[in-house]
């Protein structure tokens, strides 16, 4: 058979036409579009076995419960732990991106001495020399941990000092220390039983305490209700050119006063409460009259009296200050909220908390700052500073910058959240292997003094104490009373898996305040306007998760916090 040129052309044409009715060209087109969207330089997720592990956030002292989704051994997602008694399944926005922090470009991986590279041996030798030459001070951001115990022991052995940097929630409780003898770290607010909460500028809905604690209470008992079960009264100044805080605009009642007049308002309210016998207390009587207080706050006398009556209309009532102004704290004593249900309570304690916030560090030869201390903590200028940090926040004045373990890279214990009403204890396991070039401050001190007890042993000892105490409940997948555990090993095993120990409810009678005179107002050094607050107030990492750019850069929802690398 002879194949002509005409046959060839016809075959070609028929073949081309036939191909069009097959799936081949369309499949090719589809594949090309997929291939062209999967170039080698486009990052791809790591695939591997997925498991969920329980842990606790260590980026601020609140220690919210987390469920960390791990794929091929890496954390790929974070969610709240619903069984956590304080955070109740909530996390702050920054927590949802925290699992990416370890790869932040500002991650510290080398020891730096005045901007030059150095070694751990050099840093250790320099600190050991400082210890020999004079008193040292150690600054801790999360007091009450096993590492805190290492710091205290080390400082005590060398006649040094140990200082805890307290968050604003705990600082507001400091005035009660001298009136009751109970350290502020052992006190908390029984918000869960309060019916009226008067906040003096505290950002209750916007970064106060554990993120899920008050917001969940407010959502369940107040949000959208004209007659809420929980009345939130927000006292807050509105400064010219600023917008009110979220707490003020969402509160049941917002009381705008002159800036800095909160203490005068507290005095005026106490005066009305005592004059009109609206409370059981008979003192201490504030020195100012109602008219003077009204004049200083910008409220009318009638409005001030009405506010005092509203406060006590629904009991229990508690006042929450934004900082440690004693005049505002005294209002709680007048109201009878100190040591009362729904007021300020003393937590039952695992260990005696230490009131070391005022320890002097200015006269120290050297100061060691733990990685849990917020980056904006300013050390004294005339001492040698050893600063531990997992990330470099820039503008560091420390002589030594020492790389610390990052998020989920270090096993640590998590004591009670500041200002919580119940005592809790948990262990955040190390879910990721720390890079070999990083050390924690406790490990560093252990390298200088080998007689120090390692944090792991302290945690074991604390677990044994819990077991011997036989009080409280261990909340894991289910709640188990401690007394039902047959051995300390079983209890420890559960704690290591992410269970949390919850103490019995506080005994209200265990806290009494003696206040004979109305205290003078002290304007605190750390005064933060509520409208500018953020969760990062007590966040120890100097950088924020890269995904926080969605909040700060790509939307106008809120302003980026000052001094933070977004």
């Amino acid at each position: 058979m002879k194949v002509t040129r005409r046959d060839l052309l016809m075959m070609g044409a028929a073949g081309t036409a036939g191909l069009l009715v097959t799936p081949v060209p369309w499949k090719l087109l589809d594949d090309v579009s997929i291939w062209s969207q999967n170039w080698p330089w486009i990052p791809q997720p790591t695939h591997g076995p997925v498991e969920v592990k329980q842990s606790f956030c260590t980026l601020c002292p609140n220690g919210c419960g987390m469920r960390v989704r791990m794929a091929a051994g890496w954390p790929v997602g974070v969610a709240g732990m619903g069984s956590h008694p304080i955070s109740r399944g909530a996390l702050c926005p920054l927590g949802y991106g925290a699992h990416q922090l370890n790869w932040h470009p500002q991650r510290l991986r080398t020891v730096r001495h005045r901007s030059n590279s150095a070694s751990w041996e050099e840093a250790r030798a320099a600190f050991a020399k400082a210890c020999r030459e004079g008193p040292i001070a150690i600054v801790d951001g999360y007091p009450g941990r096993a590492a805190s115990s290492v710091f205290e022991t080390f400082a005590q052995k060398r006649n040094g000092s140990y200082r805890a940097v307290l968050g604003p929630e705990t600082r507001a409780l400091v005035p009660y220390e001298s009136w009751s003898g109970v350290p502020a770290a052992g006190l908390g607010y029984d918000l869960e039983n309060a019916q009226t909460i008067v906040s003096f500028g505290a950002p209750l809905l916007d970064g106060w305490g554990a993120p899920g604690r008050f917001t969940r209470l407010w959502a369940e008992r107040a949000a959208g209700l004209t007659e809420p079960q929980l009345r939130l009264i927000q006292v807050e100044a509105l400064l010219p050119g600023t917008t009110p805080s979220r707490t003020a605009t969402r509160a049941w009642q917002w009381v705008p006063v002159y800036a800095g007049a909160e203490a005068a308002l507290a005095g005026g309210l106490a005066r009305v409460l005592l004059d009109e016998h609206l409370v059981r207390a008979r003192g201490p009587m504030p020195p100012m009259t109602i008219a003077e207080a009204a004049d200083q706050t910008g409220l009318s006398t009638g409005a001030l009296i009405e506010l005092a009556r509203t406060m006590v209309a629904r009991h229990p009532v508690v006042v929450i200050a934004n900082d440690g102004d004693p005049a505002i704290a005294a209002l709680n004593v007048v109201l009878g909220a100190a040591g009362a249900r729904g007021g300020i309570v003393r937590r039952t304690k695992l260990a005696e908390p230490h009131a070391s916030a005022a320890a002097d560090i200015d006269s120290a030869r050297a100061v060691l700052i733990d990685s849990t201390v917020p980056w904006d903590f300013t050390p004294p200028t005339n001492v040698e500073v050893f600063r531990f940090a997992a990330w470099d926040g820039g503008s560091c004045t420390a002589d030594w910058l020492l790389p610390a373990p990052g998020f989920l890279e270090e096993m640590t214990d998590v004591p009670s959240a500041p200002a919580s009403a119940i005592e809790t204890y948990a262990v955040a396991p190390s879910l990721l292997k720390a890079p070999p070039e990083v050390r924690s401050a406790a490990q560093f001190l252990g390298g200088i003094d080998s007689a120090l007890m390692p944090t792991e042993k302290i945690i074991h000892a604390r677990c044994a104490d819990l077991f011997r105490g036989r009080a409280g409940t261990l909340q894991g997948t289910e709640a188990t009373p401690v007394k039902k555990f047959a051995s300390v090993q079983k209890l420890e095993e559960q704690l290591w898996k992410g269970a949390i120990w919850i103490d019995e409810p506080p005994r209200f009678a265990a806290f009494r305040c003696e206040l004979k005179e109305w205290p003078a107002s002290v304007r605190p050094a750390h005064r933060v306007g509520s409208s500018s607050v953020n969760w990062s107030r007590t966040w120890c990492a100097p950088v924020l998760p890269p995904l926080a750019s969605k909040l700060y850069q790509e939307s106008s929802l809120r302003e980026a916090p000052e001094g933070r690398n977004v």
């Binding site: 969207q37 791809q44 909530a90 699992h99 990416q100 929802l557 809120r558």
Partner: protein, 248 residues
């Protein structure tokens, strides 16, 4: 039975914390682009702030989480897409975006009355090593395609796989919860199946305080909002004369 997944967002409960935005971005492998702005960023979940326009203690603010409304009828993005890269999944009611088909014409972005679609202006990039923290259930989208909320479809796949492994045809509703719903600390965002009249979220959508945005367009969005405050409900048809909206 086909589902009709949707949400009811209680605006009286929203404190504008932004946890939903962060959780959404982390779940869906949205890249943190340093040069992104409110106009060019990728925020499949975006919380906008609106005030009642008053001053002093009379001022009230409301935070409105805006995401794809999953319009059920005459879905604007579906009708304009020349690539059939958008479709309404009949089994779930979810408006699906298929980035593999998208050619980046952005007609859908123009057509969307809610401004809930976003364009990938840059190649997705993370700081070195951070790709290990990406969610393995979600593919990374490349530059030049449009994306939007797909109600965390990867989670629906996981729920279906779990149900199939247990020999069941229907998923357990507790296994399928979008990231924003899970993250909301005040439980303001609730997720449910509107095809099920007994679903509490479905019942909530018919409460007198519930409303939807721009219902006059007839697109039947499946995102309901809820507020007891009249001035907030009036925002539904942009009739509020004195509301101040901060565009994000």
């Amino acid at each position: 039975m086909n589902a009709r997944y949707g949400m009811v967002i209680d605006l009286d409960r929203c404190t504008g914390c932004g946890a939903c935005m962060m959780a959404c971005a982390a779940e869906n492998n949205v890249p943190p682009i340093p040069q992104a702005t409110p106009r060019t960023g990728l925020t499949p979940m975006l919380v906008r702030t609106v005030s009642n326009g008053m001053e002093g203690s009379a001022r009230r603010e409301v935070f409105i989480p805006i995401t794809c409304m999953h319009c059920e009828r005459e879905t604007p993005c579906v009708s304009v897409c020349p690539q059939q890269a958008v479709e309404v999944d009949k089994a779930t009611g979810i408006v699906m975006q298929m980035p593999q088909r998208c050619l980046g014409c952005r007609y859908c972005m123009t057509a969307c009355p809610y401004h809930a679609r976003y364009f990938n202006w840059w190649d997705p990039a993370w700081p070195a090593g951070m790709e290990k923290s990406l969610n393995p259930g979600v593919a990374v989208r490349m530059r030049g395609v449009v994306e939007k909320c797909n109600m965390c479809h990867a989670r629906l796949h996981s729920a279906k796989a779990k149900a199939a492994a247990a020999g069941k045809r229907e998923i357990d509703p507790a296994d399928y919860v979008p990231a924003c719903v899970e993250a909301c600390p005040t439980a303001a965002i609730r997720f449910g199946n509107f095809a099920d009249p007994d679903d509490p979220v479905s019942r909530e959508a018919h409460s007198p305080d519930a409303f939807r945005f721009l219902t006059r367009l007839g697109t039947e969005p499946k995102l309901y909002y809820k507020s007891k405050e009249a001035w907030v409900r009036a925002l539904a048809e942009s009739k509020s004369a004195n509301a101040e909206v901060q565009h994000g």
